[in-house]
């Protein structure tokens, strides 16, 4: 645990970064906030995924589900309520569905939990598709338009919120509890930890932030349908980014999401035909040499300053 002074020192760089991002629209071309919004989205999804799945080692492949729930909430309520309320509702609905999901898959662990969550996304996507096709008779929805600058600042605030919550959880007794559940769940139960309660709550909490991001991003994408909102690729991307950056602390997922999103944007513009291949190679190379992710690399540099 850091002293308040050490904590202050450590927060200098992040604070400067936040300041830089907050003032970005004033001195960068108008495309930049748009591009950065995507990066911010991936950061929220990755950090919120890692909030629960990092320490507990329960690999959730349902990020798209809760993100999509937030999107649909936004689409449904966007015309009737002001944006802050819409975002709050999106978060709440995702949280509640997260609680339900956590409750349903209580007996599942490891591989089975991962498969269940993946199947959940398939279920939800196909259900909404069916509903829209057979019951509502219109597939897809238009979402109320919001200007890109507002979206950018909303996402920035959401990133800050998510990162701060993740940070304080990881340093608190709850962070230790979640870690112990991931290391030796049976032993954790035997020292008085109500594993069920923590599993359900913190899983739902991570879903809350996914829904929050979804509610805002829906207004950016303007049109959503089940295939967009519950896109299965979005189930895996945060997992890859978190592993790439390193799941040991809060900064790993941020770094992973930032670097990979940036890399994919650059690769896409330079090598439009080969970018997926190069992206895959980059990922494999990094993971092979740095199983702890990028954060592991910085840790190694700090411990062995003479070895490069």
């Amino acid at each position: 645990m850091d002293t308040p002074r050490a904590l202050l020192k450590k927060s200098i760089f992040p604070s400067l970064l936040v300041l830089f991002l907050a003032t970005l629209p004033f001195y960068m071309p108008p495309y930049t906030p748009l591009a950065v919004t995507s990066i911010l989205m991936y950061i929220v999804l990755t950090v919120s995924w890692a909030m629960f799945c990092g320490p507990t080692r329960y690999i959730s492949l349902a990020t798209a589900t809760f993100f999509g729930v937030g999107m649909y909430t936004s689409a449904v309520l966007g015309e009737r309520l002001p944006l802050p309320l819409v975002v709050a509702c999106g978060s709440l609905v995702s949280f509640l569905i997260g609680l339900l999901t956590g409750f349903i898959c209580l007996r599942l662990r490891g591989f089975y939990f991962a498969i269940f969550t993946f199947g959940l996304n398939e279920l939800v996507r196909n259900f909404v598709l069916w509903w829209e096709g057979r019951v509502a008779h219109t597939v897809g929805r238009w979402v109320v338009l919001v200007d890109s600058l507002t979206i950018y600042y909303y996402m920035l605030v959401i990133v800050l919120l998510t990162v701060l919550v993740a940070f304080f959880i990881s340093r608190s007794r709850y962070g230790l509890i979640l870690l112990s559940i991931g290391e030796a769940e049976e032993a954790a139960a035997h020292i008085g930890i109500n594993v069920t309660r923590y599993r359900i709550f913190f899983f739902a909490l991570s879903c809350l932030f996914m829904g929050m991001a979804g509610a805002v991003m829906a207004t950016k994408w303007a049109y959503i349908d089940p295939r967009i909102a519950f896109n299965p690729v979005l189930n895996f991307t945060p997992v890859l980014m978190a592993l790439f950056g390193g799941v040991g602390n809060v900064f790993g997922p941020i770094l992973g999401a930032g670097v990979l999103t940036l890399a994919s944007e650059i690769l896409l513009s330079r090598f439009p035909y080969y970018y997926m291949l190069l992206y895959g190679i980059l990922f494999i190379v990094i993971i092979s040499f740095l199983p702890d992710g990028l954060v592991g690399l910085s840790r190694r540099w700090r411990e062995n300053p003479l070895i490069s």
Partner: protein, 248 residues
């Protein structure tokens, strides 16, 4: 009425009776040994007491209150803690945090961080791991891992401590210091029920011994009675132990 009682405790796995009609009555402050060949049902019995397994029949009572089929975390908070046959530590968590976590989560009421930290430091002192408090559990040698498991169990402030083969794999020196530690724990007021295969240690330390064989209790009594019990010698001890105990 003892602090921990078992009434015809039974566990069936399909058609196999792992534990059948086992009665026990542990009094406060006792050190009771539980011995028997492999597969006798000792760990299964422990698992039922600590809540890992449900009972198929019978009842387990702690301080007069029925605890069979409660969840492990509830039983822990009531005051029963245990160690595991194969050490179940949190590999990437520090020694200090193991005991800190137990202090926070193992008690009935919410514990303040400062109090938990103080208690953790005291406990680490007791088991001799203070020097290692920042080390990760996975970097400890076996003997110290076992001590940590005991410390973690003690951090939940139990009245009854279940030790499952805690002496397995220890050298003679380590055994002696562990025996001293267990006596010290009992002197602080904790009742101890221990499963062991290391005969020297368990005969030395136990007030009473219970013997299980194929899930059934076949003998119960003082160590010297058990060691001369024909049935126990037949199924488990072998004649050497009898001979050893006869020496002055």
């Amino acid at each position: 009425m003892g602090i921990l009682e078992g009434d015809k405790v039974t566990k069936f796995f399909g058609g196999l009776a792992a534990v059948f009609d086992v009665d026990f009555d542990i009094n406060k402050g006792e050190i009771v040994g539980l011995i028997g060949p492999n597969g006798a049902g000792k760990t299964t019995l422990f698992n039922m007491i600590s809540g890992s397994l449900s009972t198929t029949g019978g009842e387990i009572r702690y301080r007069g209150k029925r605890i069979s089929n409660l969840k492990p975390y509830q039983i822990c908070k009531l005051g029963i803690a245990r160690t595991f046959q194969s050490v179940k530590l949190f590999a990437n968590i520090s020694v200090f945090d193991h005991v800190f976590l137990g202090s926070i989560c193992g008690t009935e009421s919410r514990t303040k961080t400062a109090d938990a930290q103080r208690k953790a430091a005291t406990l680490l002192e007791m088991v001799g791991l203070s020097a290692r408090k920042s080390d990760l559990a996975r970097n400890l040698p076996l003997a110290e891992q076992k001590r940590l498991e005991v410390a973690r169990a003690l951090s939940t402030e139990p009245q009854v401590l279940l030790l499952d083969e805690v002496m397995a794999g220890l050298t003679a020196t380590e055994l002696t210091s562990f025996t001293t530690l267990i006596r010290e724990i009992r002197n602080e007021g904790t009742t101890i029920l221990l499963v062991e295969h290391v005969m020297q240690a368990i005969m030395d330390i136990s007030d009473r011994i219970i013997v299980l064989h194929h899930g059934v209790k076949i003998a119960e009594g003082l160590p010297r009675e058990i060691v001369t019990n024909k049935r126990v010698i037949e199924v488990y001890l072998g004649t050497d132990a009898y001979a050893e105990h006869q020496q002055p």
